[in-house]
């Protein structure tokens, strides 16, 4: 892990890299983009925005993204927010190590998986919403809410991916679906202590992700600002 931290810091010191990523170590949305950048072999400057300390509301970051969320990619004059928008931008601008298959059906499937994670699952269990539920209903309810969202979403993904017995979600190579699945599975499995054996397909691909160097190098613990994050109680 220390080696990865050092390599990540070297990446950030590479003055010829024009890409800048505003992000937070423990944001799963940021992890999606870091994963893709590493797969595509793209150096970038790491700009940490500590969400726990509320740095997304700073005047400096407001200039970058008036909607106050990470990740944000800056590529010269182009500024892109939202992980899906960033990934699609990277896919078009830097087509090496393509993240979308050529055939229409599998390409659509990858976008559908991405959409399920970033619309039906992650936004519904994110910390701010879970806290909101807790305030309205009661202290345990935030967790129960999150678990029900995750269960529903994971069962849907199991159904959607049932015809693939491949190394990763939609093939032997990593594609867009995996950029969304990998950080989501790892983040919720750890935070909510999910028994992944209930989801054999997701479990299978999760085990495969753990063997991918770029996934590990992009993981929260390997980021320069990892030490500033305290897990929620």
């Amino acid at each position: 892990m220390e080696e990865l931290n050092i390599q990540n810091q070297r990446d950030t010191m590479n003055s010829s890299s024009k890409l800048v990523l505003y992000n937070f170590s423990h944001s799963s949305c940021s992890w999606r983009v870091r994963f893709a950048l590493k797969l595509k072999g793209l150096d970038y400057e790491y700009k940490a925005v500590n969400l726990v300390k509320g740095e997304q509301f700073s005047r400096e970051f407001e200039q970058v993204n008036p909607l106050h969320y990470v990740p944000v990619l800056v590529d010269g004059d182009v500024v892109v927010s939202d992980s899906l928008a960033i990934l699609l931008y990277l896919e078009e601008k830097y087509p090496q190590r393509a993240l979308l298959p050529d055939d229409h059906q599998r390409k659509a499937l990858n976008l559908q998986v991405a959409s399920i994670v970033c619309s039906s699952i992650q936004p519904l269990h994110m910390v701010t919403l879970a806290k909101h539920i807790e305030e309205k209903v009661g202290p345990e309810e935030g967790i129960l809410w999150a678990l029900s969202i995750i269960e529903k979403g994971f069962y849907a993904l199991e159904k959607l991916l049932k015809d693939f017995a491949t190394r990763f979600a939609t093939g032997e190579e990593l594609y867009m679906a995996d950029m969304f699945l990998a950080p989501e599975i790892d983040t919720v499995a750890k935070r909510y202590n999910i028994d992944m054996s209930a989801y054999p397909i997701l479990n299978r691909v999760y085990e495969a992700y753990k063997t991918v160097p770029e996934f590990l190098a992009a993981s929260p613990e390997a980021q320069p600002d990892a030490a500033f994050f305290t897990p929620p109680a």
Partner: protein
């Protein structure tokens, strides 16, 4: 709409589904004939075994184009954009293209999922029936405020310029739902209000409106 047997495109849709409306607008803009196959969500027709065989998640909209079956409005729109490039929905400029994706995602990640039936039932049951509308309103208001900020420097006649683009297809159904179902005060959102007016002049948008669909109940038709 085409005579069945000639059109190869089929759209499984529910008249009031805002996700289905997005796709209907796109098909209209691109001049694509399609067979409209209604799926009554309130009657649970999405759980019909034939539909599930086609689309295991039972979601609408679902598009069938020959051998290809695609569910999820975003995935369908990206497919249509690639397969039928007439009347492009995405600008070729990468910054503007990204902006379209970002605005679309404000709707389909930050607003629409918070108001789907399962979530509303949860709020109704766990917090109380009186809490449902305030819950939805707070999320819509937050999301609409975000869109106002995001688009204020780049909107033209439409959301991201003077041509209709993908963001508009997400925005209009959300505005419509906000007004008709959740009593949102649109005077807080001058840009979105102006866009809503602009969309009302476009046949492609009007023909995609919920009340103009074959499965809309007669009582929903407004004069």
């Amino acid at each position: 709409m085409a005579e069945s047997g000639e059109s190869k495109l089929k759209l499984y849709s529910y008249w009031r589904s805002s996700c289905s409306q997005r796709v209907r607008i796109a098909l209209n803009l691109k001049g694509l004939d399609y067979e409209y196959i209604p799926v009554n969500l309130l009657k649970g027709e999405q759980k019909n075994p034939d539909f599930l065989k086609l689309n295991p998640l039972g979601y609408v909209p679902a598009l069938v184009d020959g051998e290809i079956v695609i569910a999820d409005s975003f995935a369908i729109l990206m497919y249509l954009e690639e397969k039928y490039p007439q009347h492009p929905l995405l600008p070729s400029d990468l910054q503007k293209k990204a902006l379209n994706h970002q605005a679309s995602n404000v709707v389909c990640s930050n607003i629409q999922p918070l108001q789907n039936i399962a979530v509303l039932n949860y709020i109704k049951e766990k917090v109380g029936p009186d809490e449902v509308i305030p819950w939805v309103q707070s999320h819509i208001n937050k999301g609409f405020a975000a869109l106002e900020k995001l688009l204020k420097d780049c909107a033209g006649k439409y959301a991201t310029g003077d041509e209709v683009s993908m963001a508009d297809l997400f925005i209009e159904p959300q505005i419509l739902g906000a007004i008709t179902r959740f009593n949102i005060d649109m005077t807080q959102f001058p840009l979105l209000s102006r866009l809503h007016e602009a969309y009302s002049e476009l046949p492609a948008f009007q023909n995609a409106m919920p009340e103009n669909q074959p499965d809309a109940p007669p009582s929903s038709v407004t004069s």
